[in-house]
Symmetry: D2
Subunit: 456 residues, 4 copies
Amino acid sequence: MPKTEQSQRRPAFLGDLFESLTERGRRLLGWREGTGPDAIQAPDLSELGERLLSRRGEASGVVIARALLAAFEDADPAARLAFLQALADGFGPDAKAVKSALGAFQASPDAPEAMEALHSAAEPRRQELLRRLNLAPGGTAALVRMREELLRHLRDHPDLRRVDHDFAHLFASWFNRGFLGLRNIDWNTPASILEKIIRYEAVHAIQNWDDLRNRLQPTDRRCYGFFHPQLVDEPLIFVEVALTRAIPDNVAELLDLSRAPIRADEADTAVFYSISNTQRGLAGVSFGNFLIKQVVEDLKTERPNIRTFVTLSPVPGFATWLAAQRKDEISALISPDQRLAFAALDRPDWYEDAATAEQLRAPLLAAAATYFLRARDKGKRMVDPVARFHLGNGARLERLNHMGDVSANGLRQSHGLMVNYLYDLGQIEANHEGFAERGHVAASDSVKAALPGPRS
Amino acid sequence: MPKTEQSQRRPAFLGDLFESLTERGRRLLGWREGTGPDAIQAPDLSELGERLLSRRGEASGVVIARALLAAFEDADPAARLAFLQALADGFGPDAKAVKSALGAFQASPDAPEAMEALHSAAEPRRQELLRRLNLAPGGTAALVRMREELLRHLRDHPDLRRVDHDFAHLFASWFNRGFLGLRNIDWNTPASILEKIIRYEAVHAIQNWDDLRNRLQPTDRRCYGFFHPQLVDEPLIFVEVALTRAIPDNVAELLDLSRAPIRADEADTAVFYSISNTQRGLAGVSFGNFLIKQVVEDLKTERPNIRTFVTLSPVPGFATWLAAQRKDEISALISPDQRLAFAALDRPDWYEDAATAEQLRAPLLAAAATYFLRARDKGKRMVDPVARFHLGNGARLERLNHMGDVSANGLRQSHGLMVNYLYDLGQIEANHEGFAERGHVAASDSVKAALPGPRS
Amino acid sequence: MPKTEQSQRRPAFLGDLFESLTERGRRLLGWREGTGPDAIQAPDLSELGERLLSRRGEASGVVIARALLAAFEDADPAARLAFLQALADGFGPDAKAVKSALGAFQASPDAPEAMEALHSAAEPRRQELLRRLNLAPGGTAALVRMREELLRHLRDHPDLRRVDHDFAHLFASWFNRGFLGLRNIDWNTPASILEKIIRYEAVHAIQNWDDLRNRLQPTDRRCYGFFHPQLVDEPLIFVEVALTRAIPDNVAELLDLSRAPIRADEADTAVFYSISNTQRGLAGVSFGNFLIKQVVEDLKTERPNIRTFVTLSPVPGFATWLAAQRKDEISALISPDQRLAFAALDRPDWYEDAATAEQLRAPLLAAAATYFLRARDKGKRMVDPVARFHLGNGARLERLNHMGDVSANGLRQSHGLMVNYLYDLGQIEANHEGFAERGHVAASDSVKAALPGPRS
Amino acid sequence: MPKTEQSQRRPAFLGDLFESLTERGRRLLGWREGTGPDAIQAPDLSELGERLLSRRGEASGVVIARALLAAFEDADPAARLAFLQALADGFGPDAKAVKSALGAFQASPDAPEAMEALHSAAEPRRQELLRRLNLAPGGTAALVRMREELLRHLRDHPDLRRVDHDFAHLFASWFNRGFLGLRNIDWNTPASILEKIIRYEAVHAIQNWDDLRNRLQPTDRRCYGFFHPQLVDEPLIFVEVALTRAIPDNVAELLDLSRAPIRADEADTAVFYSISNTQRGLAGVSFGNFLIKQVVEDLKTERPNIRTFVTLSPVPGFATWLAAQRKDEISALISPDQRLAFAALDRPDWYEDAATAEQLRAPLLAAAATYFLRARDKGKRMVDPVARFHLGNGARLERLNHMGDVSANGLRQSHGLMVNYLYDLGQIEANHEGFAERGHVAASDSVKAALPGPRS
């Protein structure tokens, strides 16, 4: 039965549906019609913020929160930046309260109440402001967008970092995995969500709706996403999965529009071949770890025939790293033989010649093993960000795949190399701990065997 | 189509569906089968808590959180209390970190980063612990139950108050109105929710399912509740509403099973005659304020014919207060004439005799006006808790109703008095501010007129 | 989010929402306000029927159908009966068309078109009328109610039987199992449906909501119903199921409010202990057959541990039959020994005395075996209607249970006897065929063994 | 939460999920594995049909129906045609029964029971067969596909027409408007349904997903469809609606991807600019009539600001008709002046030259008025099928739009002419009756005025 628009849209709170929300902000600021500056300015936004934190704000918090968020979105970029700046400068902890709490704490440093009072006093006022802004209908989404804008300014305005710190703190609590729902995304999913999958896919771009259908509809394809109750149409992160027989070693086969699907009960392996975060405003809130493990668990229950869970992953840092090694004539990480062989990589079409490609296999895999197992960046971390993510989750580096992705992008970033990371739930805790505490890289024997031997 | 149990139940994460969860806790503690004490004890719960905060906890937080919560629920009362005590004593702020942050802060008291670091260091570790416990499926509900238990111990264990402070802080963020959904509760609502309405109704007890239906199904009755996405079957608060012609002055008519309903489009008034919180574990997180205003807004949109929004409320503190005045022979709050008249109240059946009841009207209403407008408790607050709630929300005291509730309970707590509070959205902000800042009670002229004149 | 009433209710078609529907009927009949008789009369209903079958009816069928159905429900009983009578008399086949079709058919009896034309001509016009009445919102439900009323008149007005024939024909098509959905009924089902379960339960009355919950909520209880898309809140038939270890032999244990439930995965048997049709207006449309088989199939898939599917059924005709045999002194169906033993049944409290009850076991079971396997009514059918239903579905008579139901009702109708019918999907087709074509009763060896031996 | 496949897919009835359904058909026919012909043949399908109508069919109708439908879909085209033929030849009325019923009828021609018996006997057995096939899960959809295939054979196999007659009879009952639900189709609709909108759109082809979104997502666009509960993912018919200010006179503006939408509350007119049936297998079951009227009613309730309901319709027969008039040198329907003017139409780019286009306006509109108001086909019907549909529904021919559709298709079929039909609910009954009974075309004054005057 058709829903009327009226019932689909949240009714306005305290006012006319069609009144401009900025106008409401102006009214809340006590301006009569026709007075005051033409547009809401940053000082006005700050004033609304103060009001929201005030007594009056308790009685009509929803209204003020709505008005402030709407006015922020209507404001011009300079006014918006100025408001963010005001959050940094004017909505920090209450200095007097801190001073007083500090005195009390120093007087009785062992009284838990004194510590508690100190903690409370030291909380920036903007945390409460953000919580109250969240009262507005659509407030959570508006705050995620506000932080997205904030992040764009961080480089040029490092003092905004403390505002970002509060956003990150609250978002980690609000977007706790316990509040997220895992949902299947398939060909019966509303188009309004599917178009976001096309837009957000970050690993292997989705060309069009046919390409999308090819990743969702066949019997051997799955897609899962985490959703938050307040962002109903927005997957926060999603993972694309292929059900296969055996671990695949290249992505072209997986994405081939003309391949013949297998039945889900014929598969023995689930391959996570693309995982994409969607909300820049949620940067730093980690979902991927939970998503992969939950999907592993669900697929094990749904399809006991599936026993192996792996990724087919890009190696985005490999080509850059290798170029540096080749340039660095005294690099100990590649051997003279390898160095010689890599000259072939400079021919743009090397991968189209089977013999050349085959000659490059051994040296490239040896370099890749070195890249993962020995190479470290200045911070003593693994160089590859994707590797850090999966190994940090407790996965194991399972296989190196020569010519795994010979698309332009694959060649550019990794000379075609792809790898599989294996998720074995029984091992992930130990793997994670070894990696996090000792930097130990869990790797299969075959990966270790690819390491170049000691040079004689 | 029938859902299988399998699909209704969340699959186990990382383990056997039927393994006892306490057993899992034992295993996580490294106990082999048959070793260790028979039951999980408080030290074990603390150890699981430390583990959840540790490195390994990052990799398998969901599993540990599940195990800890399940073990807590399985543990005996003494072990549970001991764990709560451990939260108070062992999971406070990291003392070393506080000391160090304090040193840095004193060195540069104007550096926002130093303040920020101090704030972070002063955060009790149990806040992060509670956030991680929330990772478990059903974690939010388990934490609400845990706090309910905690609250029962507060009187005897005042040191638990600081644990409660952290619960309250997190719950205020997690149960922010922005995360709640308003839902109609009617005769099409699942029985599993309706039985909770019967159980939780706090104002006018619901006798049985027929009584419940009488409050939900007629065309002139509504019920609304706030729900949280993680507590799907649990209304957090609900309000029962009657649509009427004119403001009602007694509750018996509203609840009469045999009355003839009117059509919703014939009503001009919406009466909030019962509002009940349901979750003791959410004490102090305020919902009622938001709920009433939202329902007013929604009803205005749905039924433009409804223009007046009032409560029909009990006056739970009146009889006790009046008894004290009568006892206090020098009370200035009641006059000698009133005092004389109130003797009739001591007859248990006074209200059944029309003449007596009528004689009591004037003195009781005068005393009631005094009770609301002049009487104050030691803290200089209004005596009546229901009045504090509605006036604090910005409502106005609209009318005093003699013989509004002559049930045993109504007679006992207020000699039958009921009152109406009026919600006029255009006035609530001013009313709230006046009340919160100056203790000003917004009252109609008729209430003011009921005040006894100055004694000559 | 609350739905407004507006969106829950179907908008009126072609007119004012609040116009009386009878008034609309009057207008359709061309009456001005204030003219015409005060109430819609049967002739008017017939006139509306003719109009619905006419040209104008094609353009605004929905409007006329609505008006006719509403006017029928508003009319007084005599007018309603008169309309049903008019359906019998005035909306039969078009006599002229039949005559003409018959002539054509006799001219060329082998032309399929002539036969087809004859068939069309012989279709009573009321079939098309009923189809057009179904255009109205709520039309299907209104027609089911109309037939319910019709059935009550059948005894006194046998000519209405031909109207009933057309209802039955259409309903068999409209309520084809292919159009029905099987749904779980559990404690999360809306109260508006559950109250109908209480009302319609026909076998073991449900005392109150606690009794209902005891049949729906425990882990070892299920309830399933068939629903039709047009009768959303009305189960057409439902079956209550207990999951047990072993086949139960009495109903008191199953319904015991204080029993301890078992887990669903511990059960090996599913017991259909109550099956109830709900819509008298759908009499003769068979659902039970399909319902039981579908539930067997679904439970097998959901719970592979359940291997045995039986009923625990009453034997409603047994006591009456036995009384007749006892009265009939030359009955060959009970032996003199049995006859002697049955005297104990005349003591009202026989079942409370263990020794007496035990003495009656053998003779009662022997009589029961005779009742099922040998006794036949005048139409050569089995006497027991429940047995005819289950054996007709292809079940097997599995076990006779002495003292299976010692409630007042159980004692009265069957001296406490209950039986189990077994549904073995591999056998039901053969069992059904044997029963339907040769009257063969599928029975277990134990039932056969209970037959009294040949008298010497 | 993710649904497992298991719960999404109906469990198999009576058997292995993965057994080939054709194999099941073979087994039902009593063939052992490895015996019998390799494939199911037409005689086997007929045998299954007989079995479904038999005694055994009562017990396991669902199984047999499933097997027959699956075997039919697996069979090769010749076998499928042979089965359809068998339906025509072997599943007609039971000749004996007809003869006997006829005898009884002639003996007592006034006995309603005799007529009823005759009607029953004359019902082709295939009607009951089709009803039983509908028992299978997915049976309704399979039968719709079966009829679609049947319709393709009608021209070459006219004897199948009597099978089609039975399909049509049952479908008219099963797809009664009372069983259909109206649903909004918008950008939140599942992609699996939206891709069908793209595929089925019959009037103005939808180029791609962007074009589709442009018809669904803007605030001034709507799309509605009728759905049947058994064909959940299949709209049976859908209509695309534009909300506009004033009645539009050309389609290009409506479909312009770059136009600026208006708000729904700014519109005064709803324009039905495309209506498409989707299921060939439901040919002859009329939905469009009901759909348009229901949408008019719903939009009136949802948006009281919308007062005018019109189509913007193609005129598919106009160019052909006009060519015939031009060829027919003595045609009385066009004047010599018009004939002369029409020569310009032979220039392929006439519409791109403003002056030429303007010169053609008057003669084309005069011809169009003639086409609608005077021209009739051999059957004395209006020539234009779209006109017959809307006028038959009771609409009025409101306006002739020169250059309304200058796409290649629009030029080819109507020299760019489009028309508006107006739906005025107060007039449709009278309009319909006039059209159906007297062939009267309801037309606005402006259309009538466009008729060429009497030639002097």
